[in-house]
């Protein structure tokens, strides 16, 4: 094969139809309050982790809903389950449980129990 000196770029488009939403389905079955999230970002604002790492709880909620699981898989480990997020959510989402269930779902996905 010829070497052309360049490579194909990876598409960044979220292909909603190609994505697998089994992780968020697992979460919603057990914590339906996630449906109420309007992505206002209040949780992220209160989050300690978000101050110094790339962890944004708001972003994680959307990525899960879209099925962008690989974007979340590693990041979700950064949450220390302190619960500051629940204190501020205006819609009453149990954000801490959402993270807990996400970790559980990812663990199941990888073949172990959380």
């Amino acid at each position: 094969m010829e070497k052309f000196g360049f490579a194909l770029s990876k598409a960044r488009v979220i292909d909603f139809d190609a994505n697998d939403r089994s992780i968020v389905s697992y979460i919603l079955e057990r914590e339906p309050s996630l449906n109420l999230c309007i992505e206002c970002g209040c949780c992220s604002a209160a989050c300690t982790t978000g101050n110094f790492t790339g962890f944004s709880l708001r972003e994680i909620h959307i990525l899960l809903k879209r099925g962008e699981n690989e974007q979340v898989r590693q990041k979700i480990r950064k949450c220390m389950l302190c619960g500051k997020c629940i204190l501020v959510c205006p819609r009453g989402v149990n954000t801490r449980n959402v993270v807990f269930l996400a970790k559980q779902a990812f663990a199941k996905n990888e073949g172990y129990e959380f």
């Binding site: 094969m1 000196g5 360049f6 490579a7 194909l8 770029s9 598409a11």
Partner: protein, 354 residues
């Protein structure tokens, strides 16, 4: 039927004035190399077949669009270059300009609009041209792309058609993807036949000549050509990715042919099929074949029954034989790489569909 009617209804809002004779023709920088038959055929069609007056001045230059879009030619320079062409027109007594390249067309329309909204730019350009060359100019009355002209005469071409865009093996109209260059109507929709969303310049030709237009999700997407990203080798992957996006999107519709009106787009969509095949092993046509990509002049010539090798189809990367067979066009494979007087030309390697 409803769909096409509605699409036509929308374009009616964008009626574009296209002159019908006495054109000042400005050539493209690259089309003569990559698609040698195209400009030749345009002149033959207009002058010899339709009896029109098309004038060329050998002192016309590149519009310098490549340089302008790559930031090496400043805006005031390119305005002056264009003004010089207008001055050549004025000298020869022409008021209608026919532009061969779509990027060039984009430059001409951008400058026209600039002069409308910023008349001081027009005055400055008059001054620069006069100081540099002693020339004066008028703004032309009619500025069109050569695909607009072929569009205008598409019914006359259809009347002379020997091979309509029909698959002779199945009796069905050929499925044709039309791709319009971004600079044709995306920047100033009113300068394109049909506007920006549903341009009609190429789909009109396809419909007149018996084919079926294929609409697919990435129809409006850019092919990825763009001097800025293309000039630097390491950036070409970005350009290529856009072409791959288009081909992947059109593939399920099984197009027989891609028709374009921009030299860059034709070049990309033709040549990148080779690059993608080399890099990824992917082809986008049926049965591992590649999809022939033609210019509108080449397609008009094919439809009218001209010899494919005179049209220059063998110079493309993707060979057109599968299309020729579908259309029932007779061709002699031995003549393919022979000159007019029978000498053997070197045969290119790595041709697709060969």
């Amino acid at each position: 039927m409803k769909k096409n009617e509605e699409k036509s209804k929308v374009w009616r809002d964008y009626q574009k004035e296209i002159a019908d004779d006495h054109f000042f023709y400005v050539r493209s920088c690259i089309r003569q190399s990559f698609f040698p038959g195209s400009e030749q055929f345009f002149l033959h069609l207009l002058r010899d077949v339709l009896g029109k007056d098309v004038y060329e001045n050998p002192s016309h230059t590149t519009c310098t669009g490549i340089g302008y879009h790559a930031d090496v030619v400043p805006f005031s320079t390119i305005q002056t270059v264009i003004a010089r062409h207008y001055s050549l027109m004025k000298e020869a007594g022409y008021k209608n300009i026919a532009i061969s390249c779509v990027t060039s067309f984009g430059i001409y329309t951008e400058i026209l609009e600039t002069w409308k909204h910023f008349p001081e730019e027009l005055e400055k350009t008059r001054e620069y041209l006069y100081k540099a060359t002693g020339r004066e100019f008028d703004v032309p009355e009619n500025v069109v792309h050569t695909s607009d002209i072929i569009y205008k005469f598409r019914d006359a071409i259809a009347a002379k058609a020997k091979y309509p865009l029909v698959n002779q093996l199945t009796g069905e109209p050929l499925r044709v993807v039309e791709h319009i260059g971004c600079h044709y109507a995306k920047i100033f929709p009113k300068y394109g036949v049909g506007g920006a969303e549903f341009p009609h310049v190429l789909s009109g030709m396809i419909e007149s000549w018996g084919g079926q237009v294929v609409d697919y999700p990435e129809r409006r997407h850019c092919c990825g050509f763009g001097f800025r990203q293309y000039l630097v080798q390491a950036n070409r992957g970005y350009s290529l990715s856009n072409t791959v996006k288009k081909f992947s999107s059109m593939q399920p519709f099984k197009p027989d042919l891609v028709l374009t009106n921009c030299p860059g787009c034709t070049m990309f969509m033709d040549k990148w099929q080779y690059t993608i095949k080399e890099m990824e092993g992917t082809t986008f046509g049926a049965n591992g074949e590649s999809i022939p990509v033609l210019t509108y002049e080449e397609l008009a010539a094919l439809v009218m029954g001209y010899n494919p090798w005179d049209i220059g189809l063998q110079i493309h990367m993707v060979q057109s034989e599968p299309l020729l067979r579908k259309m029932g066009i007779e061709f002699d494979p031995h003549d393919k790489f022979l000159t007019k007087d029978g000498r053997q030309m070197p045969i290119p390697e790595n041709l697709l569909n060969s």
